[in-house]
Structure formats: structure tokens, C-alpha cells
Symmetry: C2
Subunit: 559 residues, 2 copies
């Protein structure tokens, strides 16, 4: 990375830009506004590249997608109109442990002191920072250049250590105020484990796992977000333990690994996965969050007394908890202390096989099911799947992905419309990878304009819009009511509105899908946009199962 120039006098904006670079930020997503322009001038004059998005929510989603692949993402917005517009993306990042950093401009201290009613002001001058405090690991309102460097370091350290959003508000008078030069890099790592607690927890865990006949490791989303997937892989390979993942940790470990059991999600799991996990006499759950999607609508059938539940910073066994034990330390210690087994003796066959090629039936109307079956063999290692939620996530769950960085989804916060802007972030975070967006029609309409930025930034994204005529999950879940209808767009005509950097298809049959996939393979420098005009409102098998489980749950709660 280019070192920031040292021949310019240091000021608060340059300090902030330097520290953002230190945090791994190479791109800034956002919309300019007058309160932010002084900061943006410094950002343009730095190694960080500016990527203008159509609106601020989309900037936030893009920074979220970027952060998932690069360890941190950045959205730059203007005061209030920008800040409150990006908030939902920050809320999602907070729920999902994504270090999305937000820098917002603000009126100057003089305006604040005068209480002047300047444009965008709502409530009081500190309202925006107050709100963001609820959605971030740390928040700084920079009001003094003397303390600004320490405040900036404090926010970035806290956000990166906790893998949570951070918020920095830089009033326009501070943006050009001189300040101290950056000192040594602040620590971006969490505090150390308590050695006694760690030793005790490891000893108890080792005793239980070594004694177990059929232990299984369940790898959760926190292992993924805290960058521990390689360490967990080393553990399961050294000890030769079978492992499963959840939807939100999908592909944290390779899904064609011979020890991979499959995706565990309660009653929604494949039967053999469910059996192996639920009948295990010791489930080592590493960073599993018990969310509704990951637990198959809370149908996880694992006896808690047989679980070792390791969170980011504690370990629970039976009815007691060891605090101050870091997940990374635990994984490392277990790897060293557990007795290796011979996985192949007890599990002679590979649990998961690569998908078999399908023979398309040219005239057959395309369904969600046939699309996902075909997609499974279209995907390759050069692509990153960016999946929206609802039916597309159900379908995408069944894909076999070998690396966490090749599958992004928001399986807990579930904000529809996230995928198209998140793919923008993913494309710029990893330009060598081609994003493959899976999005339903209702979700697509939320953030459709960001296809424009996918094209402007020459991302080569492949966008599949699964058009099943509205909010299908709600029709199935609840009622086929009018509120689930959406306007039926001519989706394939949309990219041409935005410019020339795309090829576009409307697909109704398996044969037409082949033509679109062939083109996608050839058009490696363009955005490829595919409107899948699905036949009827048939859900994928996964969605049908999910809705059944949800309805059952709901009936139980109401009864």
C-alpha cells in the first residue's frame, strides 16, 4: 500500500485517512454533501479510492460487502440526510459482526455554538452521534483537534477488535485543522484471555471431547467473522473431527472437505446431517449464534448438556461459563491438546459430493429449483456468490462452496435489497473475483439503481434476478394477499438505462438460461444481467421446508 505523503502538514482529515488506510480500507463508498466535502478533498488525495453510489443506504451495503472480504469497509456520508439514510446498513452490520466504518460530516463548531438552523439539522446537533452510539462498538464526535487523533484511534481499535461498526463525525471546521501526526499503529486486537480460565476450559473440553464416541464440530458465524476459519480448519484436520456449518457461516470451511457433514439448521437440515449432529454425544459449537435462520426456526435438536458452546470471549459447558476465554485461544489450545482420531475409520464415505452436471431441457420452463441445480455447476473458484435472503438464500444454501470468501449473505439481519450494493463492495474488495448476485424481484426493486454503479465501476458482476412475482416468502408464510404484489418490471431493459457496460437477458426456459450462462462465460469484462422470469410461484424445496417450519412454530407460539 502506498504510504501517505509526508510533505503535507498533518490535519484531522489526513490523520483519519491515514488510519483508515492502516485499517485496510482501500475504497470509500458514499454520497458527497457539503458538510463532508473538506474531508473528501483529503480522501481524494490519498490512496483510498472514492466510489460514489446512488444513495447512502446502498453505500452502507457496499461497505458491508467490502468489509466482509477485507476486514473493514468505509461509508462516507453527509450530515443527517446521509447519516440517517445509511443507518439501516449499519444496523445490519452491527447485528452481523461486520466492521463497517462510517465517517460523517457535520456543521462547524461555530454553527453549533450559535444554534443556527442549518440545512439537514434535526433535533439537536449531537443527535446523529447519539443514535449511532447504539449501533457501533464506538463513536467519536470530533470537536477538538488536540484529542481527535486519540478519538479516531479509539474508535477504529474498538470497531476492528469487536468486529462491529464504528462511527466518526467530523465537523467541517475540524476537517482542515492541524493535528499531531499518527504515532505507532494502535492495537486492533481484542484483550488477551485469562490464562487460568483458558487452561481450565481447555482441560474440561478436552476431557469431554476425547471421551466422546461421536463428536462433531459445529462452526458458527463468529468463527468466520473473527477470522478463525483457518485455525478451525487446522483443528478439525489435525484431530480428524467431522464438522458442520450453519447458513450464516456457510463455507467457513470447505464444503467438499471429506470431513464436512453439511449445513446444519435443525429440522431444515438434510436428514443425514441432522442425524449426525443431533445424535452426537459431544457437539463443539464454535461461535455459533442461535439465530432463527441458523437454528432452523429454533428447531435445533441438540441436547445442551452435550454441547460445548464457545463464544467469542467465553466458553459454556453444561451449566457453567468460563469468561475471558478468547475463541482463537481456545481453538489453538484444543488443536494442541486433543487426541487425534482416525476420521476415515468411522466415516468411510465422503458426506458431500460435488454436484453432478445437469442436462438442460431446452423448452422446459425455468423454476427456482432447476435454476439452482444448474447454477451449482456453473459456479467456479473465480466467483463470489452474493446472496440476498428469502428464496434465493434457501436455494443458495445447497450450493457447494469451498471458501468463505466466495459466499456472502446476511442470514441474520435479513435486509432485503442488500445483495446488489454488497456485490459492488465485494467486487472492489476482490477485483479478481466475479460477484454472482442472487436476488428476488421484491428485493431487487429496493436497491436496483446500484446496478448502475456495478457497471460504472466495471465490476463484471453477474446478476440473477429471480422473478417469482412479488414477495413469495410472505405469500407462502402467511397469505397470498395484495400487499405481496410488486410492479412487474421489464428487468432486462434496466442495464441499458444505466449505460453500455452490460449484457442483459430475459430467461424463461432452461434453454434460454444456457444461452445466458454461455454469454456470461464469454463476456468476462462486462456486467451480465439475467432476468429469470420464473414459471409461476413455485418455491425452491428449501423455501417450502422453511415456510412449513415457520408456520408450525408460529402456530405453537399463538396456541
Amino acid at each position: 500500500m502506498e504510504t501517505p505523503r509526508t510533505d503535507r502538514p498533518m490535519n484531522v482529515s489526513r490523520y483519519l485517512v491515514t488510519r483508515l488506510s492502516d485499517a485496510g480500507i482501500g475504497h470509500a463508498f458514499g454520497v458527497p454533501g457539503d458538510y463532508t466535502l473538506d474531508f473528501l478533498d483529503h480522501l481524494l488525495d490519498s490512496p483510498i479510492r472514492w466510489v460514489g453510489t446512488c444513495n447512502e443506504l446502498n453505500a452502507g451495503y457496499a461497505a458491508d460487502g467490502y468489509a466482509r472480504l477485507r476486514g473493514a469497509g468505509l461509508a462516507v456520508v453527509t450530515y443527517a440526510v446521509g447519516g440517517f439514510s445509511v443507518l439501516n446498513a449499519v444496523a445490519g452490520a452491527y447485528a452481523e459482526n461486520v466492521p463497517l466504518l462510517v465517517v460523517s460530516g457535520a456543521p462547524s463548531g461555530r454553527v453549533r455554538a450559535a444554534g443556527a438552523l442549518v440545512h439537514h439539522l434535526v433535533g439537536d446537533f449531537l443527535l446523529q452521534a447519539d443514535v449511532f452510539r447504539r449501533f457501533t462498538a464506538a463513536t467519536a464526535f470530533l470537536s477538538d483537534a488536540a484529542t481527535a487523533p486519540a478519538e479516531i484511534d479509539r474508535v477504529l481499535s474498538a470497531a476492528l477488535a469487536a468486529r462491529l461498526p464504528g462511527y466518526i463525525e467530523i465537523p467541517m471546521d475540524l476537517a482542515r485543522t492541524p493535528c499531531a501526526a499518527p504515532g505507532p499503529l494502535p492495537s486492533f486486537v481484542p484483550p488477551a484471555s485469562d490464562p487460568a480460565a483458558l487452561a481450565e476450559a481447555v482441560a474440561e473440553a478436552v476431557e469431554r471431547i476425547d471421551r466422546a464416541k461421536s463428536p462433531v464440530v459445529l462452526v458458527g458465524v463468529e468463527a468466520l467473522r473473527f477470522g478463525l476459519a483457518p485455525a478451525v480448519l487446522a483443528l478439525v484436520e489435525r484431530i480428524e473431527l467431522p464438522f458442520a456449518t450453519t447458513t450464516s457461516s456457510k463455507a467457513a470451511l470447505p464444503e467438499l472437505h471429506p470431513q464436512y457433514v453439511g449445513l446444519y439448521q435443525g429440522v431444515l437440515s438434510r436428514p443425514e446431517v441432522r442425524r449426525q449432529v443431533e445424535e452426537s454425544d459431544c457437539v463443539l459449537a464454535l461461535g455459533v449464534k442461535m439465530t432463527d435462520w441458523d437454528t432452523g426456526m429454533f428447531t435445533m435438536g441438540i441436547d445442551p448438556s452435550r454441547m460445548i458452546r464457545a463464544g467469542v470471549r467465553d466458553v459454556a459447558i453444561r451449566s457453567h461459563t468460563y469468561p475471558a476465554v478468547n475463541l482463537g485461544d481456545l481453538v489453538g489450545a484444543l488443536s494442541a491438546a486433543l487426541t487425534p482420531r482416525r476420521y476415515e475409520e468411522s466415516h468411510p464415505r465422503q458426506a458431500v459430493r460435488p454436484p453432478a452436471p445437469v442436462v438442460p431441457c431446452a423448452e422446459a420452463p425455468l423454476t427456482a429449483e432447476s435454476f439452482f441445480r444448474r447454477l451449482a455447476t456453473f459456479l467456479d473458484d473465480s466467483m463470489t456468490v452474493v446472496s440476498d435472503v428469502s428464496d434465493v438464500l434457501c436455494g443458495a444454501s445447497d450450493l457447494h462452496v469451498q471458501e468463505a470468501d466466495r459466499f456472502l449473505c446476511q442470514a441474520y439481519y435479513c435486509s432485503i435489497g442488500w445483495s446488489v450494493p454488497a456485490a459492488l463492495g465485494a467486487a472492489l474488495a476482490r477485483p479478481e473475483r466475479r460477484p454472482v448476485v442472487l436476488v428476488g424481484d421484491g428485493a431487487f426493486q429496493m436497491t436496483a439503481q446500484e446496478v448502475s454503479t456495478l457497471m460504472r465501476e466495471k465490476t463484471r458482476a453477474i446478476v440473477f434476478v429471480l422473478d417469482n412475482d412479488g414477495y413469495l416468502i410472505e405469500r407462502l408464510l402467511h397469505d397470498d394477499a395484495a400487499y405481496n404484489d410488486v410492479q412487474r418490471w421489464r428487468y432486462a431493459a434496466l442495464p441499458a438505462v444505466f449505460g453500455d457496460g452490460a449484457v442483459s437477458f430475459r430467461v424463461t426456459t432452461e434453454g434460454e438460461l444456457e444461452a445466458a450462462l454461455d454469454a456470461a462465460r464469454v463476456e468476462t469484462e462486462k456486467v451480465v444481467f439475467v432476468h429469470l422470469a420464473l414459471s409461476g410461484r413455485e418455491p425452491s424445496a428449501g423455501l417450502a421446508r422453511l415456510c412449513a417450519a415457520y408456520r408450525e412454530k408460529l402456530a405453537g407460539r399463538r396456541g
Copy 2:
């Protein structure tokens, strides 16, 4: 309005729907989500019509536009992903005194008690209500059917009385829970004035105004929002006082009225308006908010000692304030107590004349200036101008509009992208009126998908996209930097993506504009979309003046 059916058992959803109807709500804008569906089922079965929008922010903007014309607007969203997405629209309504009501679904009490990690949850279960508390007159989290009716009444009364947003969160288990039937309508009016303070304030004001040689009434945004424009008109007509308005109260009183001085905005005013207001020996300011836009970037040159400043609930004269004096009571009392004058004796000529027809020069490249000159004679009484901010608002300020309900803008909060969805709300609030949207290209890209709903709802809107190649105001204000560039869309191709209900034009010359306007006059049942591909980046005269004033101010603050 249809009376809600009485043959169904009352429950919390039916109660809420009934009270929303009582508040004048005829349409609900929103996006469905599972936490909200039980409530929506009741809403579909009521006189309130559901209008699905592409995303929640746009639903909020639409409800804002609706509320400006109907006294209240409604957005219905799902938990968290919907709530935090609509927040920026609510912030704008809070800043601008617009009674935007938000109803949000939420997880059930059982889920809350269990602390279950259900989808969309972020932070804690009460976070959303906590955040909305900061942006509303009142907030209710319904957790008990016994108190829900009183809570609903409390929120609606407070919001409508204060002309501010209100927020009601209805967990899904409450949506079908039986509750008491609605009692008598709650009071939607503010508390009464203190009679002694009112009498004293009126006496002092009358003394000062009657004694003044050249009094002027400055009508502000609060007079407009609190429905006092008719009373103020009666006052100025009875006493024959000259009056001016501000941008945010534009057209509160008729702009071709013989006593109308013009739009006052400090140094940005026309010279004769500035002279008459600033040289007045008594300015009666009724509900004027001293915002940057309304004061011409704080260049209002009125001697405070010559002002009588009446707010919604107080009156300030020289250095003292009378609290608990309602603006409406003050206006009524002044109307009765002031000594009439003969306006025409001192002001023989009409200050403002209707615009003269312009003769288009067919081949002349279209500029912002020539567009607004032509628009002035195109508009008629059947249209409502819905103006975004920046250059379009500068241009639109010069239009002559005879009625407040025919001019909508967000001149204080200034959230770009507001106009297209707000026009949806305006169209449904007043179906007999045709919305005329004025929006710049950068602002348009923010919320462009809502043109789809303008078409779906058969609104007959006329949408003018003034394409001046990016964020022009920031180029002029600050720097012609790369962050002000936007992707240049083929805007006129967009409506055809959404369906068949529109005609569309790309206009580069005055002659092509004529053709588009002719078509708009003929196509009275369709959305008419006009891409104004302006020649270069020439600002309107108003924007050039505004930027100069802003830069001067900024230099002063930095110096």
C-alpha cells in the same frame, strides 16, 4: 368516508386502523414484512388503501408528501430493516413539522421474553422504539391490549397537535388481541393559550403595528404547517398589510395577491422585496423559522428590535417573550384589534405580476433558466409542484403559485431524492391534482425506482429530471471534484422498464421541450417523464446567487 364495520370483534389492529382513519389517513405506504402482516391483514380490510412502494425510505417520503396535503400520512414498515430504513424520512418530517405516522411490526412478547435471536433483531428489542422517540412527538410500544387504545390515542393526539411524526410499534402477538372499542375521538388540538399572556401580547403588538409607518407581515413555515394560512390571509386582507413569504412557506398566501411583496430570503431576495422588508419599521413574523435557506444563508437584514416574532406557542417582542400564546389565537386577535389601513394608498402598483408567455427558440439548447421561464406559463391550477432541493428549488422559487397546496418542498431538511416518492403521496392525497416533479439528476438516482409506483398507481405525474451532469450545487459551492460526478443514465428509457403507463421524452432544445409539454397536456391519464438534458452545467440565476452567498458566509466563518 366508510365507517369501519362494527360486526367484527374489536382488536388492537382494528382499533389502530380506526383511529388512523379518524386522523384523516386514507392511504398507507409501505413494504410488507412478516412482523407486520397480521396488522396489514386488518388494514386491507379497512377503508385505508394499501400502496406498496419499492423500499421503506420511499414509503416514508410518500407519506410525508401525503401528510403535507392531508394533515397526516402513514408509513407501515416491518421491524428494524423497515424501521431503520424509513428513519431518514421521519427525521425530515420531524425537522419540517410534518405529521408522518409510522406503524411498525415487531416480534411477539414471547420472543422478547425468551430473548430469541430472531431475524432483523439488532441490539435489544426496544432499540427501534428508543430511536424513534428522538424523532417523534410521541412513541408507543404496544405490549398490553388493555392499555393499547389509550397509547394509540396518546401518540396520534400528540403528533397531530404538534404537527410532528408519531410512532407506534405493534408486536405481532398484539395485532390480533381483543381490546376495547374506540371511545369518543381524542382531541387532536394543542392546549389553549394563556388568556392573560395573549391579551398582553396582542396589546403590545397592536400598539407597535398601528404606530408603524411601513409594517410588513412575514409569513413563515409554521403558519403554513399549522393550517393558519387562511387566518393569516384574512388578517392581511382585513388590515391591508403587505406580506412576504419564505421559501419553506412559499405560496402559503397567493403569490399574485395585490398585497404580496415577494419571497424574502435575505441577500437572495429580489432587491425590491429586500428593501421593503428590511426597511420596514415593524415586521410581524408569523411562524418564521430562521433556517439557512429561508434567511438567505443567515443574511436576513431585519433589525430584531423592529420585529414581532410569533412562534407556534410564544411571541417575542424586543427582548421579552410571552409564552403559552398560540399562533392561531394571536392571528385571530390581531385581525380583530388592529386598525385597518388602505394598502393601495401606499402601494399603488401590484408588486408581483403573472409571468409573460415566452416564445421558444426551437433550436436553442435548453438551460435551467430557459426551462423555468417556460415552466412558469405551463403550470396551471390543476397541478401541484413537488420540488426537490438544490438548483431545482432555486428555479422553482421564482414560480408564481397561488395556493400552498400547489407547492411542496423540503427547504429545511433538504434530503435529496425526496421529490419523486413525495409526489406519489401528493398524487394520492389529491387525485384531482397533477403532481409536477422537479428533480436534479443526482437526486433522481436516489429514489428513481419510485417512478414505478407513480405509474402503477396511475398518478398522471409529470416528472422533469434536470440533468446537469452530477451534483452541480457542490461543484459551484466547493470544487469541481470527481465526487460530484454521477453515472449519466439514459433517463428517458427508464419508465419503459417499469411498464406501459408512461410517455417519455429526452429534451435538449427549447423546441423539444415544447413537444414534451404539448404531449403532457394531451396525455392526461399517464405519467409523463421528461429528461431535460441541459446544455452544460449552467446554474439557474437563483443557484448562482445562493452559492455566492454561501461561499461568502463560509469564508467569513473560516476567517
